[in-house]
Every structure is written in C-alpha cells, then in structure tokens.
C-alpha cells in the first residue's frame, strides 16, 4: 500500500502542474498533440539559455575570482541566485498553496493528520524549487568542478548542498507570508494590501542593496564592488552578511577536502534542520490553525459599514475596464501568477551587478550604463511587449471568465466593445508594473529621461497591439470549464502560446536592433518599432472586424 503522504503528494503535484489533464489529452486521447510540442520547444529554448548562461558565468567568475584568491565566487553567485529565486517563488507558492488554495477545507475533513497534509504540500513546493535549482546549480557545479579539478569530496558535499539549499529560503518566505497575511487579514483593504505586499518585497530587496552600500560608505555600485574586491574576502563577507547560507554552501563545496569545508557543510545542514523545525511549527500552528479559523467565517466580529447606494455613472468602456482589472487583481490565483514577472525581472536584472567590474565579466560587454539611447529605447519597448504577454492578462481574459462568461455574453455589446476594455485593463496593469520596475533600473544605469520616455511611448503602442492579438487568441479557443481558477491561467495553453509568440517577435526585433548596432544604423530603431506596430495593429484591426464576431457567436 502506498503511503498516504505519498499519494497525497502525487495527487497535489498532479493538480499543481496539470499533469493528469495533460496525460488525458495527449497520451490517452492522442488529441492536441501539437500543444506539448510547443511547450517542449519553448521550455527547451529557455532551458538551453539558462544552462548556457550559468556555464559562461561560471567560467568568467572562476577566472575573475582566481585573480584575487576567490575562485569559488562562481559557487557563491550560483547559490545566491537560486536562494533569491527560491525566496521569491517560495513566497508566492506558500501564499497560493496555503492561503489561497481551495482544497484545504476538503483535506481537513478527511481522516488525515495535519502533518501529512503539511508534508505533502511542502513537498510540492520543494519539488518545484529542486527543478529550478537544478537548472542553475548543475551547470555551475559541473563547470566549476571541471575548472578546479575537484575530487570525490566535492561531489559528495555538492550533493548535500543541493538537497538542503531550498530549505532556508523557504523558511524565510513562509515567515514573510505569515507576516503579510496577518497584516492583510487585519485590514479592510485586503486586495490592495496583497498587491502592496508584493511590491514591499521588491522594496526590501532594493533596500537591502542600499543598506549594503551605506555600510560600505558609497552608493556607486562600481566603486563599492571595487572596494569590496580589493579587500581579501571582501565580497564573500558582504554576501555573507546578507545571506550567510549561500556562503556556507559555496565554501562547503570549494573546500570539500579540508576541515573548513566540513565545518561549513555542518553549518548549512544544521541551520537547515533548524529551519525545517521552524517550518513545521509555522505550518502546524499558523497555516492549518489559521485555515480552520478562516473557515469559520472571515467576516467574524467586523462590523459592516452601512452601504450607501451611491455610484459614479460611467460609460460601458470604463466600467468594463475597471471590472476586468478588479477581477484579475482580486483573485490571488490570477494576480500571483500574472504579476510575479513584474517583480522578478528587474530583480534578476540587478543580481548580476554583484559581479560587475570583475575582469572579463560577461556583463561588462553589455554595459547597460553606456548603451546608446536608441538601443535603450528599443529595449524598453520590447520589455513592455514581453511583459504584457508574461502577465497573461490579455491571453486568458475570456478563459478567466469561465462559467461567469454568460454575464458578458448577454450584455448588449459588440465584440469590439468587449475586446477594447480588456486590452486597456491589461495595459493599465502592465504600465504600472513595467514603470515600477523600470524606474530603479533607469536610475541605476543613469538612463536619460528622453530615452526612457520614448521607450515607454513606443512600448505602450507595441504592447497594445500585441495585447489586442492575445485577446483575440484567447477568444478563438477559451478554456472555460475550470473549477479551480488557477487552471484558467496556469494550465491554459493560450497563455503559453501567447508568451512564446511574443518572445519570438521580441527575439526577432532584438536581433534587428543588434544588426542596427553593428551597421551603425541605430536611427532606424524607432521606424522599425513603428513598422512592426503598424503591421500587428493592421492584423488586429482586420481580425476584430472579420473574425472576432464569428468567434464570439460560436463560443
């Protein structure tokens, strides 16, 4: 007999990643076989990119670090990157598995012990983290191992490090989400606080960087890093102060053959074990008890405000726009999945700064600070376009309606009147998200107001027509028969196709810009942006007039 925890775990893993649904369609019914092909193609592409990136980074950092006696700089960067990523994904995963999932009320009614539920749920989260870690750590570990000509000790300690590394970020993420939910639950402004919490996390990260700079006494990152590097062990200490486990992990691997290595490994394992206990207590005392308390009715003692039947009269466009935005932001299943990109991308862009000013640093070649303004502008436009697809707001707009679609379908509106506010709502969220991420980057790299401003304008145009096409894509085959809302975004094929298609356009445009840079024809970039916007806009216009009405009548 399979253990209850294991079968619970595999059932949850199934629903979390839509495995059963996939198996049913692709293997059993042999239907829609081209879908997995596209998924594999787009995922494979990302995979190759990530592995290649980690491989090259390791090489550069190894050589750079060797110059001042810190060859394991690559390992520190790797463990730090996966820890930060783990922190972010952990935060969102904990929120969606423990606070926003609707299966807890069912599970609690079954004859299961609370630790069994907890273990299975944490197992699902940790599985995701292992996959993510493997993506980065394996190539880094292997490349480093080859470069440093390591022995068996390295392999053993690397294996242990890999196993325990996700624990501590997960503990921190859980603690953060507990704090956040406590705050949110106390307040009347739940929706807003959930959003603010996400942004707060961003601020914490930036604040951390700032604090680091203050502590060393300068706010110029290049001077800061020079200072750090000029001192022996400087960078290691700096990182160690922010997040010690990543240094322990790196040193455990690098000095695997010495007692120093074993001590570091011991630190890491011991602190992770402690973390596991904290995690268990949090889970038992806070998550499950909290859910039980929540089931008794969240309105509890709160007094209801007297409702005034007041309203602002608005046109159909504005009211549909605000409804679409509210419905997206208020459902954590939609919001967490859609908005995570806006937080994650700028942070990931900032991370490599840790390695700047090293000899032969690959990022030096990119040299964001001294990029041509036209190139910056083009890049920002592409950023807007890619992010609107990543947000999944336009590409799942009808799917997210699910069984509520009858409301819109019985309204006396043309399909054009229904599409436009949806594009606008996606654009509102996208603009806020992109600008929030863009501001710190622009400040850091010293980009001018003009190039950023024009980048935003072109980005708005380009992302609007792309959003239009994505809405029509979702209209053509909406996924309406979900029960768990997370299905409408996560297992929705339209969002994947939309992202992939947009990436391809971004990739082509990016290649074009690169060509422009090579041939000194950067002035062409605005024209190219306008041209692509025009072509895609024409396509959107044509489809709305001639195809969308038929699709709408057919649903």
């Amino acid at each position: 007999m399979k253990s209850r925890v294991i079968s619970l775990y595999s059932a949850m893993l199934n629903t979390h990643y839509g495995l059963s649904a996939g198996k049913y369609y692709y293997i059993k019914k042999k239907q829609r076989l081209w879908e997995p092909l596209v998924i594999v193609a787009s995922m494979g592409w990302l995979l190759v990119l990530a592995v290649w990136f980690a491989w090259m980074l390791t090489e550069q950092l190894f050589l750079g670090g060797l110059a001042f006696g810190q060859p394991h700089l690559a390992l520190i960067s790797g463990t730090l990157i996966v820890s930060v990523l783990g922190l972010f994904f952990g935060f969102f995963n904990v929120l969606s598995t423990f606070y926003f999932s609707n299966d807890l009320s069912i599970l609690l009614a079954w004859p299961l012990r609370s630790w069994e539920i907890l273990l299975a749920k944490l197992g699902v989260i940790v599985t995701g983290q292992y996959i993510l870690n493997a993506l980065f750590l394996l190539p880094i570990g292997i490349r480093y191992g080859l470069l440093a000509r390591v022995g068996v000790g390295y392999v053993v300690s690397a294996f242990v490090v890999f196993l325990v590394l996700p624990v501590i970020p997960l503990v921190i993420a859980s603690a953060l989400s507990v704090v956040l939910m406590r705050l949110v639950n106390l307040s009347r402004y739940r929706d807003k606080l959930t959003l603010i919490g996400g942004i707060l996390l961003l601020v914490i990260v930036f604040g951390g960087t700032y604090w680091l700079q203050q502590n060393v006494g300068t706010d110029d990152p290049s001077v800061l890093l020079e200072q750090l590097l000029s001192q022996a062990d400087g960078l290691v200490k700096a990182v160690g102060r922010v997040f010690p486990p990543s240094v322990w992990a790196a040193q455990a691997m690098a000095y695997a053959h010495t007692s120093q290595g074993w001590i570091n490994l011991l630190y890491l394992v011991a602190s992770s074990a402690l973390g596991l206990i904290v995690l268990y207590v949090l889970g038992e005392k806070v998550f499950l008890q909290g859910v039980i308390a929540g089931l008794e009715g969240s309105r509890g003692g709160k007094r209801r405000k007297k409702v005034v039947l007041e309203h602002v009269e608005r046109g159909a466009f504005l009211t549909l726009l605000s409804t679409e935005r509210k419905l997206f932001v208020r459902d954590p299943n939609f919001a967490l999945n859609g908005l995570i990109g806006y937080v994650l991308l700028p942070v990931m862009a900032l991370l490599p700064l840790f390695g700047q000013n090293l000899e032969g640093n690959p990022f030096e070649q990119l040299n964001f600070g001294e990029m041509d303004p036209l190139l910056v502008m083009g890049g920002i436009s592409l950023f807007f376009m890619v992010m609107i697809a990543m947000s999944m707001i336009p590409s799942t707009t009808f799917s997210r309606e699910g069984r509520y679609l009858w409301i819109v379908r019985t309204l006396p509106l043309s399909i054009g009147q229904i599409i436009r506010p949806r594009v606008a709502a996606a654009q509102v969220v996208n603009t806020v998200g992109c600008v929030l991420g863009l501001l710190p980057l622009s400040y850091l790299f010293g980009w001018g107001v003009l190039e950023v401003g024009f980048g935003i304008v072109f980005g708005l145009l380009l992302s609007s027509v792309v959003a239009y096409l994505l809405v029509i894509l979702d209209l053509s085959r909406p996924m309406l028969n979900w029960i768990n809302p997370i299905k409408a975004v996560k297992s929705n094929f339209n969002s994947i196709v939309g992202m992939f298609g947009t990436m391809v356009i971004a990739f082509l445009l990016g290649a074009l810009f690169f060509l422009n840079a090579r041939t000194a024809t950067l002035w062409l970039i605005p024209l190219e942006l306008l041209l692509v916007t025009g072509i895609l806009g024409g396509l959107a216009w044509f489809l709305t007039r001639n195809v969308a009405p038929k699709l709408w009548a057919k649903i």
């Binding site: 009269e313 549909l320 409804t323």
Partner: protein, 248 residues
C-alpha cells in the same frame, strides 16, 4: 415578443436533438410559462433566446429583432436570470449592479430608485456592499434578478426561478413577475412544477424531449389533447407533486 420558428439544437457529440423544430410565440404583456420535466430542453431553448447558444436551424426573433442578425438590439430589450446564478464572486453586489447599470446606460437617479426598491424588497441593502462570494445561493439569485430588472427590460426571462428559494422569497419572485407585466412588459419563465405555472401564467407551453407538445391557456390544455392525440393527463401528473417523479 418572442417568436421561435422551426428552432432546433443538437449539442456537439449528442445523438439526439435537445430541442427539435420548435415553433413558439409569446405575446406582449403576458406571463408565459415554459413547462416540462427535467432534461426536456427548457434551458437549451432559453439560452437560444438570450443569445448564449446558437440555434442549428430556425429563427429566433425577440421584440422584432433577429438574434443572429441584430443580437445587440435583441439583447438590449431583455433581462435574463439563469438557472444557476453564477455571478463574479470577487465583485461586491453593488459593483456588479453598477456594471450592469453602466452597460445598459441606466441613468443615476433611475438606478438609485430601482436599486433601493429591489434591494429593500429582498433585504439585500445591508449585504450588497460585500463580495458576492459571501452570498448564499438565494441571495445570489436575488442579486441576479435585481441586475436583470435594473434596465426595466421589455422582456424578462427566468430559468427555473423558484428552485432553491424559501417560501417567502418565491412569493416575492411571483409578485415581481406580476408587477413587471402590469407595467406593460412581458415575462417568460421555465419551470418543472405545474403548480407554479397554474398560479401565474396567462398561457403555457409544454415541452418534452425537445418538442413542444402543447401550448395554450391552462383551461385549453386541461381539456385538450396533445399533438399525437394522447391525453395530457399523464404528463401533468409528472409535473405535479402527486406524480412523485420530480425531485428538488
């Protein structure tokens, strides 16, 4: 008000028609009851009238507008309450009602007056500021009804409106239907309970296995025979409590 001409619908993959060659006329100013046992094709017919389903064959006219040629004009003259009131759980009741008011262009003073009237009647005035997900099923049904009446539609369509309502609410619903007709409008509703139709309707149509087998006033039907000549008595038995064959 409603005119169906030779309307048929077969669901994708189904072997039989859900609705077959249906002719039906609902006259302005009447309460029309659409009667039939579970699975007879009532919901399918209503969905074709309100534009949620496309008829395979035949014509659907509402207020003179063809539903395939001019759906927007047709929809503008209707208010619809579905059998399952699935309303956006993450909007508040008031947000939902204002969405409807804005889309149908109901002006401010009129909107306030109608909202106050219906919400008071349904005792929803307190709860209307809460998220719909905290509403009970009956409350959601009342909210859907309020939304459907907000633009005072010439044609009011309800799919099995009495299911799941307490006696007081179902009395209210009946009152509202009568009131709506008194103001010169038309009401079309489906039910599987004969009693409800008897109390309310000027005329009824009876549908079974997708085909209209009788149509007329209660009196005409009681004494009459259906299309293939057999007595309607057996069918009526199915549709009344005493028949014992209906659930809910």
């Amino acid at each position: 008000m409603i005119r169906l001409q030779g309307v048929s619908k077969r669901y994708k993959g189904a072997s039989t028609y859900a609705v077959r060659d249906l002719d039906l006329e609902v006259r302005p100013g009447e309460i029309f009851g659409f009667l039939g046992p579970n699975g007879a094709g009532k919901t399918t017919t209503i969905k074709m009238i309100v534009g949620l389903l496309k008829a395979d064959q035949g014509k659907v006219l509402v207020n003179g507008h063809d539903l395939t040629l001019d759906p927007i004009a047709a929809k503008r003259s209707m208010g619809y309450v579905p059998d399952k009131p699935d309303l956006y759980p993450r909007l508040t009741g008031l947000e939902y009602l204002n969405l409807i008011g804005d889309v149908y262009g109901v002006d401010g003073p009129t909107r306030s007056k109608r909202l106050a009237h219906y919400l008071e009647m349904f005792q929803l005035t307190e709860a209307v500021g809460d998220l719909i997900q905290s509403f009970s099923r009956g409350m959601q049904q009342k909210l859907a009804l309020t939304g459907a009446l907000l633009h005072a539609p010439a044609l009011f369509i309800l799919d099995e409106p009495m299911v799941g309502l307490d006696p007081k609410s179902s009395h209210l619903f009946k009152e509202i239907m009568r009131e709506h007709v008194k103001q010169g409008n038309t009401v079309f509703f489906s039910t599987h309970v004969l009693e409800v139709a008897e109390q309310l309707c000027n005329r009824v149509g009876i549908i079974k296995q997708g085909e209209l087998i009788a149509c007329g006033t209660m009196e005409e039907l009681r004494t009459g025979r259906d299309r293939d000549g057999s007595s309607l008595e057996k069918l009526f038995l199915e549709l009344t409590d005493e028949g014992g064959s209906y659930e809910e």
